[in-house]
Symmetry: C2
Subunit: 386 residues, 2 copies
Amino acid sequence: MKSFEYANPTKIIFGEGAIQKLPRALETCGKNVLLAYGKGAIKKAGIYDTIINMLADAGKTVTELTGIMPNPTAAKVREGVALCKENKVDFILAVGGGSVIDCCKAIAVGSLLEEDFWEVLYTRGELAVKALPIGAVLTMVGTASEMNGFAVITNDDITVKSGFFSPAAYPKFSILDPTYTYSLPKYQMVSGICDILSHLMEAYFSGEDDNVSDDLNEALMKSIIKNARIAVSNPLDYTARSNIMWGATLALNGILGVGKTQDWEVHQIEHQLGAYYDVSHGMGLAAVSASYFRLVFRSGLHKFRQYAVNVWGVETVGKTDEAVALEGISRLEAFFKEIGAATSLRELGIGDQTKLAEIAESTNLLDAGYRQLTSADVKAILEASF
Amino acid sequence: MKSFEYANPTKIIFGEGAIQKLPRALETCGKNVLLAYGKGAIKKAGIYDTIINMLADAGKTVTELTGIMPNPTAAKVREGVALCKENKVDFILAVGGGSVIDCCKAIAVGSLLEEDFWEVLYTRGELAVKALPIGAVLTMVGTASEMNGFAVITNDDITVKSGFFSPAAYPKFSILDPTYTYSLPKYQMVSGICDILSHLMEAYFSGEDDNVSDDLNEALMKSIIKNARIAVSNPLDYTARSNIMWGATLALNGILGVGKTQDWEVHQIEHQLGAYYDVSHGMGLAAVSASYFRLVFRSGLHKFRQYAVNVWGVETVGKTDEAVALEGISRLEAFFKEIGAATSLRELGIGDQTKLAEIAESTNLLDAGYRQLTSADVKAILEASF
C-alpha cells in the first residue's frame, strides 16, 4: 500500500426527509447566503420552496444564482463570484447535482481571490487554501462532489474542461435524500451510474495491488451494478436509490482510493471530449471506457483478469488470461448497453470524426495507470469509440 | 437503509516513516503537551526517543503520563486529568494502541470538566462537547480509536467497563506506520484481529439488509481474514500489515456502519467480562462470539446464511439454511483457533464459573441485534463459552 494522508471534514445528513435538518445545519453558517441551482428542476419538485422558506425562517439574506448548466462554465463561475462580492455573501448553498456543487466550489474559492479564479487555479496552478463555506443539497448522484474537494469547470474561451482540488472546498455539510432522485430522467440516472463505476475503475486499475482498497472497491462496484439494475427497472425502490446515492459518495470521497496511485486517464479523455461537445459526463465516460481498457489491458493483465472474475463472475476454465480479461471488459460494455448508457461517440450525438485528432492532441495526459498514453493512443481510443 | 448522519474530522497520516510528518502536524497544536503512553514498549522500539526529540525541536513543554494499562482505569484517567490541570496542558499526544488513546480521550474530556469525568459521562450520561485536542501515534491495531470518538474505561470501584462517545474526542490527527506493528507479540496482534472482525460483525448482524454497508463489510471481513493469515505466518509482510492496520481503522471509523442499526451485544458481554477479569479485549470477544451467534442465529437466519456463503464460502448444496448458517459460525471459530485466538473462557485464564452469573446480571444489555437478550441468555452464552 502506498503511503497516504486522508481527511474529510464534510458532514453527511442522509435519508428520506433529511432536508428537515437543514435549519439546524444553517445555524452555524453565515447570514448572507448565495442560493445556487440549475435550470429550475428544483422548483418543480418543491425543493426550492422548502429551502427558501427555511432560509427566510433562519433570518438569512438570500441572493440567487440560477441556470447553472451541466458542464458549468468559467463564465458562470465569474457571474457567481461577482454576485458574492457585490452582496457580501458569506455562505453558499448549492442545490442540485455535481455540476451545481462544482460551480459553487469555484465561486467559493474565486470570491476570496483578488484575481480571476481561472488565472490563479488553472493558469498558475496554485492551491487554494481559502474558500467561502459551502453547504449542499444533492438532487442527482454520481460525482461525489458532495463529499470531496474537487470541481470540474469548462472554459469555453480556450476549449478546456478541467478539474481543480482545494482542501477548503469540501462542503461543510451535504444533505442526501434518496427520494429526490426518484423523478430524475432515466438518462441522468444512468449517466450518474456510469460516472460512479468510472470513479471506482479509475482507482482500481492502477498499481499497489493486494490492497484492501481494491477489495472494497470490487464490493462497491458489484453493489452499484446490482442496485442500478433494480433502480432502472423500478425507479421508486428506496433501498436501491439509497445504496446508489451513498455508494456514489463513497466512490469518490477519497476513502476507497487511499494507498493507490490511481489512473484517471478515462476522465482526462472525457473532460476534453466534454470541452468540445456538450456531452453528459457519465455518458462520455461510458462511451470511451471499453476502448481505453482494450488498448491498455495487456499492461495490467493480472488486474483486468481479477476484475473480470471478481466483479463480473467470468468463468476462467479453459480460457487464457487475455480471454478472461477481455470478457470482463465486454461485460462492462454489455452492462452499459443494458441500462441504457451510450457506448459510442455516435450515440452521444457526435456526427463525424473531424475533431477527434484535435481532442486527442489537447487531452492532458497523466502517467499513472498501467501504461503511459500518447496522443496517438487517445486518437485510437476515440476512433474505436466512434 | 436507515437514515444517518456521518462526519469524521480525523486526519490520517499513513505509511512507513509517517512519524516524519509529526513535526508538521504539531505546528498547529498547543505548546503544553501531555505525552501519554503505556508500559515502556515504545522506549524499546525507539519511538519514544524520536518523538521526544521532535517535541523538543518544536519547542513544546512536555509532561509525561506513563503506565497506561491494557484496560485503562478511571483512576488512570484521573491521574491524567490532574496532570493536565496542574501543567495547563493544551494538547495530548497519545502513543500506543487503543487503550492509550481511549485513556487520553477521557483525560481530554475530563480536563475541561469541573466535576469528575465519571460522574458526568457515565453516572449522568451527559454528552461531552468539549475536549482538549488529541493527536495519536498508533503502535497496535484493532480498536480504531485512532479515527473515532469512542473510548472504553474500566471503573474498578464499581466493577464496570464501559464506553462513551464524544464528538470532541476524535483525534485531530493519527499517525499510522504499519512497521510499528512488526514487533508486536503475536498474542496482541491476534487479539487486535479478533477485535476488528468483531467490530465488523457487530455492524453486519443487524437489520437494514440489502445495504451497501453490508456489501463493503463482507469485503473487509474477507480482506482481514486473508491478510491475518499472511501476517501470522510472516509478521514482517508490509502489505499484510498495512491492510490490517488500515482495515482496522475502516472497521470502526463509522464509514461501514452507516445506515445500519448495529448490534454490539458481543462487546457488551466482553466489557463486563473485562470488568471482572483482566482479559485482552479482542481475545474476550473471540471467546464469546460463537456461543452468542449460536444462541441468536435463528432470529437472523437469512443473514447468518449470507455470512456463511459470502464470507466463508460455505457450500449450500443439499444443506438446510440452518446447517449453512451454523457452518459459517464454526468456520469463524476455526479461524480464531487457527490464528491462535482464545475460543473459550478457560483459555482466557478464567478457572471456574463462579462469577458468570454475576457478570451476566451486570451486563448492560441493548436491544439492537436480531434478538433481545436476557441476563439468562448471557449466562447461557458465558457457560457455553467456558
